[in-house]
Subunit: 323 residues, 2 copies
């Protein structure tokens, strides 16, 4: 099957345009009427770099390609709008396999209210997805950037940490003593991340002054937020919500579970700075669709400190990831 | 150099945000205030599929990646706005080479008034560019689609045909007798296409009812326009503007020059249907920045007929390229 046929088959599977979309796939470009302001982010998943076809289902990888891109929109507090995909198909991937990946993309898009509005299919040496997502807000000021955190703000985190990193270790078969069910649950945290779109919008509504998604690990991404805002972040290690199974994987591999929670990437949770006045975590968690935890405070100064029991302080390293 | 460092270097080279851009590269997403309606298109250039590093400079290929994506916006009559790029970098490409490709992208973006507003860099097996471009108009109705051509409309073409295909043949060294200068000029038509953005807007202003860019060859793309509009297109072969050097390349290879002009792809010219009343080709060519030629008419019926001397009619084949 050629790439044009595949593109046609792909388009048959797309939902009809609606909402802001006036022309979807099939013309030279998709036409939308955005209104207000848009937030646009691009992300890529490349076989051999970000995933291996041996370890992940094609439906999962399609879904993850859309999910990780949408996570950036969640971190802006955006309403998800449209997704555009360049799908690169290697010679050894047959039609059914391609359509499985496409179905994964469509399912995640539908589950989040995102319209797959356009795409292109090309041949190439490995399977890869380049995804552009567009989110919306009434005005540019409604989006939550990384640079607005102020001393005194509470630091909130959605969901739990370390699950994706532990899941990767478990999936690689490096934790022989781990109960099967626990391994499967952890692997899903790695393979099927949930973009925290509702939580991002709830945090924006609650007046979040800065927000970022935790794709490179809490330590690294907290540093990015601190640097962009010109503040220090004080995180209480005892308050960190560590995912179930992380302790077991850490024990099996003789690792510190806190290390997995702080440095393990791909959790795709949100870290937000929110003014503490009137903060109602229970209500926020409910409207955001995920438990939120207060893990520390924004302070004057710079950098990130993680306060451990016994007055020890960890200053997480972290590479300079700029996006 | 890691991908994060490269991303940082890339971002240093980007122009500052302006116009519709409120936040460019560096946050989770770029923020824009589009106003009106947007046209969004994605396109990819993959090494080994669309280009070979042996035959093309990296600056050229970066420039071409942006140009071919913008050609789709030209075909909508859009004002170019923003571009977002996923750059995949293979292990054997060094920093200077990467930045050369980036400089090519930036130069083409600047030349066309497009803002490179965001991007991502990833490792991968071959050099590739996945480009998303966003164009603008006051309303969705201002964009020119493929489906509005009406019987009686004049068929207009920008620029000349066959140059890119002849350039590819010349670049492959298959035309030994060709004068050097001619080979160089033709190769540039293949390697450095010009997106006809001004011409697209001029044609939209002139009331174009349907428009498409000629990336797959006039024959194939005319069929797409005819099918989308539910009309027939009658093209006069004698009126076709064939690029200089095409006849020489065709003669050297014992090909029909008309075949190169009609079936050769990658010319990235525009084909538009325009109501003939009050049509002033000279004025339109001037405001569009490129010579335009009336090459035929829209008629009732379906499909594409190319009328040859001696009452012969060619019905171009063409594969079903759907984007």
């Amino acid at each position: 099957m050629g790439e044009f046929e595949l593109l046609a088959r792909l388009r048959e599977r797309l939902p009809p345009p609606g909402g802001r979309i006036r022309v979807a796939s099939g013309d030279d470009a998709a036409v939308t009427v955005p209104g207000g302001a848009t937030a646009t982010s691009v992300d890529a998943l490349v076989e051999g770099v970000h995933f291996s076809r041996d370890c992940v289902g094609l439906r999962q990888v399609g879904s993850k390609a859309i999910a990780t891109a949408l996570s950036d929109l969640a971190a802006m507090g955006a309403e998800p709008g449209e997704a555009y995909v360049v799908l690169t198909v290697p010679p050894d991937l047959d039609e059914d396999a391609c359509l499985e990946a496409v179905d994964g993309m469509i399912a995640l898009a539908e589950a989040t209210g995102t319209t797959l509005a356009g795409g292109d299919v090309t041949r190439g040496p490995v399977l890869s997805f380049a995804v552009t997502v567009v989110g919306h807000a009434a005005s540019a000021e409604r989006f939550v950037r990384r640079d607005g955190a102020r001393s005194g703000d509470a630091l909130l985190l959605t969901g739990e940490l370390g699950g994706a990193a532990a899941g990767l270790l478990a999936a690689r078969g490096r934790t022989p003593g781990l109960p099967d069910r626990m391994g499967v649950d952890l692997a899903r945290r790695q393979l099927e991340p949930t973009p925290r779109l509702e939580a991002g919008r709830a945090l924006a509504e609650a007046g979040a002054t800065a927000m970022i998604d935790i794709s490179d690990g809490l330590g690294a991404d907290a540093r990015h937020l601190a640097a962009a805002s010109g503040v220090g972040l004080h995180i209480d290690a005892a308050a960190l919500p560590v995912a179930e199974g992380v302790a077991e994987v850490a024990a099996a591999l003789d690792l510190d579970p806190l290390e997995l929670a702080v440095s393990g990437g791909e959790d795709y949770e949100l870290l937000a700075a929110v003014p503490p006045r009137g903060l109602d975590l229970a209500r926020l968690s409910e409207s955001g669709g995920v438990a939120m935890t207060r893990i520390g405070e924004v302070a004057a100064g710079r950098g990130v400190e993680i306060r451990l029991p016994g007055s020890r302080i960890l200053e997480p390293e972290g590479y300079d990831h700029l996006a």
